[in-house]
Symmetry: C2
Subunit: 365 residues, 2 copies
Amino acid sequence: MNFPAISRRQFLKTTTVAAAGLPLFAAALADPPRRKIGFALCGLGSLSTQQIAPALQQTQYCRLAGIITGTPAKAARWKAQYDLPDHCIYSYETMDRLADNPDIDVVYVVTPNALHAEHTVKAAKAGKHVLTEKPMEVSVAKCQQMIEACQTANRQLAVGYRLHFEPNTLECARLAREKVFGESKMFEGGFGFVIGDPTQWRLNRALAGGGPLMDVGIYVVQAARFVLGEEPLLVSAVATNTDPEKFRDVEESLVWQMKFPSGVLASGSTTYRIGGMNHFKIFGTRGSFGLDSAFGYNGIHGSPSDGPEIQFPQLNQFAAEMDDFAQGILANRPTKVPGEEGLRDVKIMMAIYESARSGKVVGLS
Amino acid sequence: MNFPAISRRQFLKTTTVAAAGLPLFAAALADPPRRKIGFALCGLGSLSTQQIAPALQQTQYCRLAGIITGTPAKAARWKAQYDLPDHCIYSYETMDRLADNPDIDVVYVVTPNALHAEHTVKAAKAGKHVLTEKPMEVSVAKCQQMIEACQTANRQLAVGYRLHFEPNTLECARLAREKVFGESKMFEGGFGFVIGDPTQWRLNRALAGGGPLMDVGIYVVQAARFVLGEEPLLVSAVATNTDPEKFRDVEESLVWQMKFPSGVLASGSTTYRIGGMNHFKIFGTRGSFGLDSAFGYNGIHGSPSDGPEIQFPQLNQFAAEMDDFAQGILANRPTKVPGEEGLRDVKIMMAIYESARSGKVVGLS
């Protein structure tokens, strides 16, 4: 197929990043798509509306092929905006009919955390690949259920770790792997924001599974694991709550520590009370490096203790994540961010909560 | 008395700081010293040699009046360099004779941590005021012994918290107290350096009482308490050791958490394995502020999330600390950094070690 002019410009822009050594875009240069993978967005909240649907327009290998929503008014709005045919619009109750729709290859699950398993299992049973937002689910058992459902259906399961495709984050992983700043010894990171509407699902334990740790602290857990390239042996945590009315169901703020097999000690912080905390730093035997800010959709940047700034061009992380999943499906190669990766984070976060509750260090198997 | 030209320049330089609102130097302008307080340095290691003795030359209210050392070669060298009379040179065994020397008002204890109590008690019994380096001692009981000895002798006891006199640190305490960045919610800080000679006393638990926490982590504990202006309720800690041969007696690195009554959560890091970790930051409801670097003898500076840089002129912190103690003695007012302040840090650090050993949160009374 031919690229429309806008896509070609987009494509050429990404070659700058490819030149910096990112295999994703190098592959894109060599192998333009034969067909676009059809994505159905499951859950049409603000993330789908403001980030994922616009990002789909910037992909090379994907297209918006359907929606799944419990809100008829949203269905009507999206149908009009994206020119969707009626047979590509589903409710959560009619998801089994996805099996009859060859235009849809992937269901992208963007519902509240505690519904990811239900919607993933339905999509897998209908023969669809699944990309689910993080955190993968609210318990280890539900993550395992998702992995099993996709294995049984012989479909791929990916978790929306957009920063695995973000060039500044990848550069930090390279700096750690190649020991550019020596052996990593200490890690410090934090991510928080001021939560608004007190009635939203993020403040409801049954739907969110926890507070800021599940929602944004997970980025700090991920950054430590992804950049250091190893898995924590144990965690220890302390939580706080200065507004018990607003935070009656989930923690307001939490700090935790992780010890890694190499001996690295990590400190993490997360909160729903303040913004401006959005960073990680690794202290090595020959200097320090990291990103500040680190976890947003743009503005990612780092000032190492010496050497050049870390400032690769920003890209649309959701587009990169979806394109990579689509390319994997087209090429029959496994995703870089499989369900097992999401499960590991949930295991760690559950251990962090157990430690905050018990006041004891919790080991990880 | 008249100021020599060099001191007058020094004096005028400090008026810049006085103009920034520091009462220490404002007082200096109003009240030039009638006589200089005589300091005897007890322990002539690198801190005395490279920092404290040169700093004494920059004070307005103090003079080097004697030395106490176990090494005759050091005694000879210092006697020559500082033109000290024989009767002002003591060994640890002859400290009781300090009682007969009216030229010496203060003993500044700069010996290894586990000797501070012994030397403080001897000095107090000889009728001298005591300024002791931090950490105050290696146990709560020994700190209490020091406080009691000085109370019994009716002498002042101060701990060498030089940053209580450092203008950038004082500015951070003001920013927190006046809630310039809103209510403080999270604190992050770390201090480490690469320790050299494996035979030095800092790696010997009997003399040091612990590893980097006692030596430099104490600055992070202090920064949190001093800037936030409150005392932690509980601590939790994890230690690591990747070089058991070198660190056979004390921890190599340690991370800890503190929870404060206001709900602030603090993360601290300390290590003998890497340099370049020398910072603290407070995240408030309207932005963040702190210092990086934060704890050195110079180069202290901070970049808040908005507003002007924190960059008051550097001063000689040891000179400021000694001048303040001397002024207090002359004016018969209590020191700003009494033994009780040192005792609190030791209590907290002992709780941190207990948590690292037990794997449990430790409460503080």
